[in-house]
């Protein structure tokens, strides 16, 4: 039985439809991340799950029970807010215990729960402070503690790390992951940060304009995106989209890329990754999607020229990030980003030979932006 099931949920604000028949099912213990640009409806969906926004149509089931018209309190859900939303007039201890107090849990049990949570999140020394006396990271921990104290059926996290600085965000990300592994809780987590989504999720739901475009494991969403939006949204630096013409026949499709200066580049499409849809698109335009890591520096020592296609280009910008170097290269009518190893000593203006790994490339139709192959 799924911990949370959303069936055809629709939400209108006046004439605007913010959620367009969203359906979703989450297993017990699963970590699901809703990701998408701002205004895609992910926060509205979360509020609908929490019961903070009534839905216009559809059903929400928690542990098999229809809770569509129940109040937030009756749904047995805990939520961590982006702004933390700690009760300013209460101490950390009272903040954590408030939910239990409202549910008439005896005092001794409440205190035990506070101690347990405080140990778990290492906030024991802060228990008697007021939220205004805490740093951002500490408030974040308290907000999580408040959610954890009650042991609800589902945890909702609404962009919980957005207000933290970069270093703390990475730390807390790891901590949330550890907590989830330890406690095995069901979590729905909203973020617009695709790295958070990739690192934390069991499954990712990519949303746009009130739809779920793709629901899958981080690997699926990253390697096998359904359309150009998902492909471009996940991954940083994002996927390169190259305008090309699809040529050839089944078994020997080729992608021809017109390059202004040099002769046109022809990339053979691996036969193993052909789809029936490609047959109809032959002779027409197609968009080739290549991630920066699908380019690799040509290593002459290996000499396995059989695999991949060689590409020579003049580097326009080289950005060393430490771990690797990002190169901007002209290709087709635009520029692409390639990620190469840090040993390459390349400066702008130099020519480089790169191997393109076509076995991981994806192909989109330029009109519908959907996947061709």
């Amino acid at each position: 039985m799924s911990a949370l099931e959303i069936r055809q949920v629709r939400k209108d604000f006046g004439a605007t439809r913010v959620l367009k028949d969203v359906s979703l099912s989450i297993d017990s213990g699963e970590f699901l991340i809703l990701v998408g640009p701002s205004g895609c409806g992910k926060s509205t969906l979360m509020n609908a799950i929490a019961g903070l926004e009534p839905v216009t149509a559809g059903e929400i089931l928690i542990a098999g029970e229809d809770v569509t018209w129940r109040t937030p309190a009756e749904r047995d859900i805990a939520m961590v807010f982006q702004s933390y939303a700690l009760y300013p007039s209460m101490t950390v201890r009272q903040n954590i215990a408030f939910g239990l107090e409202m549910r008439k849990v005896p005092k001794a049990e409440r205190e035990a729960a506070v101690e347990r949570v405080a140990d778990l999140l290492q906030i024991s020394p802060l228990l008697d402070r007021k939220p205004s006396q805490l740093s951002g990271g500490q408030r974040q921990r308290v907000a999580m503690g408040r959610a954890l104290a009650r042991e609800p059926k589902i945890y909702l996290f609404d962009e919980p790390l957005s207000n933290l600085d970069a270093k703390l965000r990475v730390e807390m990300r790891t901590e949330i992951k550890k907590l989830h592994q330890r406690l095995g809780t069901t979590i729905v987590y909203v973020t617009h940060d695709q790295i958070e989504a990739m690192t934390l999720a069991d499954r990712i739901a990519v949303m746009r304009d009130g739809h779920i475009l793709q629901l899958g494991t981080p690997e699926e969403v990253y390697n096998d995106p359904v359309d150009m939006f998902v492909a471009g949204f996940m991954g940083s630096p994002s996927m390169n989209f190259i305008q090309a013409t699809l040529e050839g026949d089944a078994g020997a499709y080729r992608l021809a890329i017109e390059t202004p200066e040099s002769p046109r580049l022809v990339l053979p499409w691996p036969a193993a990754r052909e789809t029936p849809a490609m047959a109809d698109a032959v002779g027409g335009r197609a968009v080739l999607g290549l991630r920066p890591e699908h380019f690799s520096e040509e290593d002459l020592r290996l000499g396995d020229r059989a695999e991949g296609t060689l590409l020579a280009a003049k580097v326009t910008v080289a950005e060393p990030t430490g771990a690797d170097i990002l190169l901007r290269l002209p290709l087709g009518d635009g520029e692409v980003t390639a990620r190469v190893g840090p040993k390459a000593s390349i400066a702008a203006g130099e020519w480089i030979e790169l191997r393109v790994d076509m076995s991981r490339a994806v192909l989109f139709s330029p009109d519908s932006e959907r996947r061709l192959a």
């Binding site: 929490a50 939303a85 009760y87 209460m90 408030f98």
Partner: protein
Amino acid sequence: MVTTTLGDGTGSAASRRTPAARLQDWLPRLVVAPSFAISLFFVYGFMLWTFVLSLTNSRMLPQYDFIGFAQYARLMENERWWVASTNLAIFGGLFVVICLVIGAGLAILLDQRIRQEGVLRTIYLYPMALSLIVTGVVWKWLLNPSLGIEAMVQGWGFESFQFDWLVDSDMAIYTLVLAAVWQASGFVMAMFLAGLRGIDDNIIKAAQLDGASLPRVYWRVVLPCLRPVVFSAVMILAHIAIKSFDLVMALTGGGPGYATDLPATFMYVHAFTRAQIGLGSASAMLMLGAVLAILVPYLFSELRGRKHG
């Protein structure tokens, strides 16, 4: 060049400064000085003078035969003073509490994202724009048994209806509360509304998820956040209550008899119309003492609490 700095550094630095720079230093003090001097003289000076007068047996005009605290002793034996003091306790207490309750209630209701909020807010706030004299006169007519509400309801046919608090010496003090609450609660509402707007909506959502019902959310979570607002509101309402002189004069004139006398009207009557300046001054000093006795501990606890809170 080195030797000059070895001397009295500050003195030589100051003497080398241009007049403009010196003016710049003194300008804030110069600007504040007149109002400082004026308030020193007219507020604290007159306070002191009143205290001096309260120790004399001045009657029609100030004179300086000191008779110690005899005026205070007379005051303690004056029944009218006790009526006025009790009235102030009733009036002030009810006025402050009812205004806070109504103001907070209206603000919470108005904060529920309702339509036409701006219009409603203005309507509720408007009474504050009237002078207390106007309020007093309006309510005097409304409460007049032969003109106002009683006459109207009786005119509808409910002959036995009675609403004659204004002329009932036991109830007249409550008409003052009624009029003053009508005037000030909209203002308190505006203060609370501003406070509520400053509260993160997510706090209310979080409390709802934690299982609190809406009344409990407000009582346990939101209102405690509004402590500074309550503090300001109590300050303002308390001083309105204590200086309520015009309202009493317009609405009841202290009557029936002296049933609705407040210390302020008592002081005025004795000092200026009954030629008892000494007694009036003594009552004024007691009012000041009462105000300080209430406000100082409250101010102290609030301001200290906030520093640590």
